[in-house]
């Protein structure tokens, strides 16, 4: 089994590699300095500048304003009539994860998404083409306490290690409601149902885990105190990789991103967190957040939501597209996420929906996919707005990004081009030729009447979306 899997991975990697010809990699690093001229610059935090220039140097935004001067060898992009927006930050993604759910246990805080990153996932490139530059890669929602997240920049074409967002706060996934209850999946024959199967049990599972974590933390504190007093014959507590991340949560060193739907379970987790003295950084999905917006704001949690998805399951039946507006007005920091490789490509349109539903302003709409998710992930010092000194993560759009008619021309990360529509169009004839050659190649022809050659399959479902296809499908 392992051998076959390894071969598949190899083939996948090869194919992904082919889609990025060497010329492309050279093109984008050719200029260290880029001047984007005469654009409408949507800074998000400092208003909109018209006919303005943006200078990118050494991976940072070096200047924003009128008549910005660049060095002689700078790459100059005429952006007349175009718009510059900070790179979109997607606060809920499963892109580039080979697997999403370690769904055997109800508490899997020892599992790490950083161990299963696939930098060749083609959907990363498709997200870049939608102006997205950063992702919060979350463990799935099968467990009350899930695995650890990874925040990345989409440096497609680079090794996985280069994707890791420097200095992003570590986080962990929690999940409430139908998914950790496994409501929509049936146990395999011979298996019993996993605990918990009610919202009561979900609360107890999390409370039990934090009770153990608190004791564990205390054991270490006692040990360290004794050690500092140079006591003899001390035995260190046994390390517990499941509880260590929860201790970090208790110490405020790790953000909790909690998948939730119903108002009652949101309140449950707020109360539980208050009991243990920690904060929920974001509620994810939060479809009934509008019913308890006051309580979410009081706790200081953010909410990362869908624009208008509803009715795909029972706990999503009270979802409304006014959710973002109601929570924003109550003082909650709200972001609009994808939870889907497909939707990630058009988060600008998802953000714009709050202008239709709830009449939020343009700036409030733009914040939902830039500044707000950056704050939620603790990366707002580097990304989320266009300000001098910040990372040069941004995209040039051919129209206002909140317009349905707009599309991305060029996407930069750290001042380098990772998507460019003209380059993409230019290399298509070669790719088509190469594809035709591969199809014609002898080893790829099915033998007459026989078995087809082994095709590389995706390592996870197309449009991987932890929530919509929930149903135990990842289990053997």
């Amino acid at each position: 089994m392992m051998t076959r899997l390894t071969i598949q991975l190899l083939i996948c990697s090869l194919i992904a590699g082919i889609s990025l010809p060497p010329s492309f990699a050279q093109d984008r690093s050719a200029a260290q300095e880029t001047l984007i001229r005469n654009a409408t610059v949507l800074t998000v935090t400092r208003g909109t500048l018209t006919n303005a220039d943006v200078l990118l140097r050494n991976g940072k935004i070096a200047a924003i304003g009128k008549n910005v001067k660049a060095s002689a060898n700078a790459r100059v992009i005429d952006a007349t009539g175009k718009f510059v927006l900070p790179g979109i930050v997607d606060c809920h993604s499963h892109s580039m994860l080979d697997t999403i759910n370690e769904s055997t246990l109800s508490v899997t805080s020892m599992a790490r998404t950083s161990d299963v990153l696939n930098p060749h996932d083609i959907d990363l490139y498709r997200a870049l083409a939608g102006g997205v530059t950063s992702l919060n890669l979350l463990h799935g929602s099968a467990n009350a306490i899930g695995g650890l997240n990874t925040v990345v920049k989409i440096k497609f074409g680079r090794p996985a290690a280069e994707f890791i967002f420097p200095g992003a706060m570590p986080g962990i996934k929690f999940a409430l409601g139908e998914n950790p209850k496994r409501s929509n999946s049936q146990p395999q024959p011979g298996q019993t149902r996993r605990y918990p199967m009610t919202r009561m049990g979900v609360e107890e599972t999390i409370r039990d885990a934090f009770t153990r974590a608190r004791d564990y933390k205390k054991s270490w504190e006692e040990y360290r105190a004794s050690a500092s007093r140079s006591e003899k014959n001390l035995v260190a507590p046994r390390r517990d990789l499941q509880l260590e991340p929860l201790v970090e949560v208790l110490e405020g060193k790790r953000y909790v991103h909690a998948h939730c739907y119903r108002a009652d379970e949101i309140l449950m987790l707020i109360n539980l967190a208050n009991d243990f003295g920690f904060k929920i950084r974001t509620f994810q999905h939060t479809l009934e957040g509008y019913k308890v917006a006051r309580e979410i704001a009081q706790h200081g949690a953010g909410a990362s939501i869908f624009a208008d998805n509803w009715a795909y399951k029972i706990e999503a039946y009270d979802a409304i597209p006014y959710n973002a507006a109601i929570m924003t007005r109550a003082g909650v920091i709200v972001s609009m996420n994808s939870d889907s490789d497909e939707r990630a490509r058009r988060l600008n349109i998802e953000a714009a929906k709050v202008m239709r539903y709830g009449d939020l302003s343009e700036e409030e709409a733009l914040k939902l996919v830039t500044w707000n998710p950056a704050v939620q992930l603790g990366i707002q010092q580097r990304v989320g707005s266009l300000e001098v000194g910040k990372d040069a993560d941004l995209a040039i759009w051919n129209g206002h990004p909140l317009s349905v008619y707009a599309r991305v021309d060029t996407t930069f990360i750290d001042g380098e081009i990772f998507f460019d529509r003209q380059q993409d169009l230019a290399r298509r004839p070669d790719l088509l030729k190469e594809r035709a050659q591969l199809e014609a190649a002898e080893p790829n022809r099915p033998p007459p009447g026989g078995t087809s050659p082994q095709a590389p399959r995706r390592r996870r479902p197309t449009n991987a979306d932890d929530d919509m296809w929930e149903g135990g499908v990842e289990q053997p």
């Binding site: 509008y290 795909y312 029972i314 006014y322 058009r346 129209g399 008619y405 707009a406």
Partner: protein
């Protein structure tokens, strides 16, 4: 009217009585009398005094009447836009359109200064009303029957007029949907509905609008399916698909023979009487080419298969899905086979497809001259996003006016109801959307809505919940 329209003129609900479905005919008669009653009441109720708060939940049918919408930009779709124009609605129909029209007495006037009037959008690829909550509430799912051959399963029987999806969809400007069953090989018959009404038949524009056939797939291996077997025996896959196609072929041939036998007996009772068979009877108008057959087909091989099969069986095919339609464009144009294009916002179907291959498919179909319309392809909750499917197509090369046409006039033409829907022209059903901006733009608000000439309130389950919670402090 194009040649195709003329050809298609034989389809539609004119044929519904021919199925011999006596029960349905009785209901239709009753419907007419209810409408007459409502119409007679309409004059006495003014716009500001509608009874209650008729939402999707209460299902109250707003009465028709005479309405005048003035000072609006009228985007007719059939011709040039009209600035500062007036539309008159009378008894469910568009009675006048223009800059200088006679204002009827006893009419209610809406001043639409700064606003635009569009024809309502039509989504020709949904299961709207057939499912409320897909997961965890199977009792609300009526999209697919058991078994492979269900031509007598009729969407119009199960469309739930009180589904929350109906109002949620219409308040964003989608006034019509083709609700389609989904499962098996022959799924059943779809219904074209107005998104207003208290009974399925009050909603029906064409109760039996199309037969739905899922064209057998041969794409078992490779290319993207996560759960697809890693290795497939091509011979076996092809044989299985051929067996399925043969199943469909046989039942269609049986229906032809059945129709001939029934006709012959009707003319000459001395001939043997074929026992009534509801399944075959349901197929007769379709095998006679009197009504269209919607084939779900996305891959190139499937689309080519549909064209060949439809020609062999003398059917009127419509492709539903059509992700690969661009690759078959010249043949689709040559055979004049229309496409209900649903995949614009899907991920490209192959890992090595270009990132915008589905975004730009509509533009390419138009360049190739293939008749097409744009659909969400959604079962219900996201049908309201139809304008953004068209908008994305426009962002990737489809002219904006064509994008608008692709969700208004084009679906009406493909479903052979362009004489009643799809544009703002005198005599058409008054399905009108009054907006404060471009109909396809995300930030645009719908300000007034008329469906079937009825002033439909702009509330829904979602606005109700918003109203209930937005001021909670």
């Amino acid at each position: 009217m194009t040649t195709r329209d003329a050809e298609m003129g034989r389809w539609g609900d004119a044929g519904m009585g021919r199925t011999g479905d006596a029960g349905m005919r009785r209901v239709v008669t009753k419907r007419i009398s209810v409408l007459t009653l409502l119409v007679s009441l309409a004059g006495s109720i003014s716009l500001g005094q509608q009874p209650g708060n008729p939402t999707s939940q209460s299902g109250v049918m707003p009465p028709r009447g005479t309405f005048v919408i003035r000072n609006a930009r009228i985007v007719t779709v059939s011709g040039a836009d009209i600035e500062n124009g007036t539309v008159v609605i009378r008894e469910g129909k568009i009675a006048a359109v223009g800059t200088t029209v006679d204002i009827p007495a006893n009419s209610q006037t809406i001043d639409a200064s700064g606003l635009s009037i569009y024809p309502g959008m039509i989504d020709a690829g949904t299961s709207l009303g057939l499912v409320e909550v897909g997961q965890g509430a199977f009792g609300t799912v009526d999209t697919g029957e058991v078994g492979d051959l269900n031509p007598h399963a009729k969407a119009i029987i199960a469309v739930n007029p009180h589904s929350a999806h109906i109002a949620v969809t219409r308040v964003d400007g989608v006034t019509n949907a083709l609700a389609l069953p989904t499962s098996g090989l022959i799924s059943g018959q779809g219904a074209l509905i107005n998104l207003v009404g208290t009974t399925p038949l009050e909603m029906a524009v064409v109760p039996y609008a199309a037969l739905v056939i899922n064209y057998p797939r041969t794409t078992g291996g490779g290319g993207g399916g996560f759960f697809a077997p890693q290795q497939v025996n091509l011979t076996e896959v092809l044989a299985a698909a051929n067996r399925q196609l043969e199943q469909i072929r046989k039942v269609l041939r049986d229906a032809e023979a059945y129709g001939r036998a029934r006709d012959a007996y009707a003319k000459d009772p001395k001939l043997p009487r074929a026992e009534q068979n509801l399944m075959l009877e349901a197929l007769v108008p379709y095998v006679r080419g009197e009504r269209p057959v919607v084939f779900r087909a996305s891959r190139e091989s499937e689309i080519r298969g549909v064209i060949k099969f439809a020609e062999e069986m003398k059917l009127k095919p419509i492709i539903l899905g059509g992700e690969d339609a661009v690759k078959v464009a010249s043949l689709l144009k040559e055979k004049n086979v229309p496409v209900i294009l649903t995949g614009i916002l899907d991920l490209p179907i192959r890992e090595d497809d270009f990132y915008d291959s589905l975004y730009e498919s509509a533009a390419k179909l138009r360049e190739a001259g293939v008749p097409f319309c744009i659909s969400s392809g959604d079962s219900g909750p996201n049908v309201r996003n139809l304008p953004y499917y068209a908008g994305m197509a426009a962002a990737f090369g489809l002219p904006r006016a064509e994008a608008l046409k692709a969700v208004t006039l084009s679906p009406a033409q493909i479903l052979n109801v362009a004489d009643r829907l799809g544009t703002i022209e005198v005599g058409k059903i008054a399905n009108l959307v009054v907006t404060d901006g471009d109909l396809l733009e995300t930030r645009t608000h719908v300000r007034h809505l008329f469906i079937d000439g009825r002033p439909v309130p702009l509330n829904s389950r979602h606005t109700d919940l918003n109203d209930a919670f937005k001021n909670r402090r």
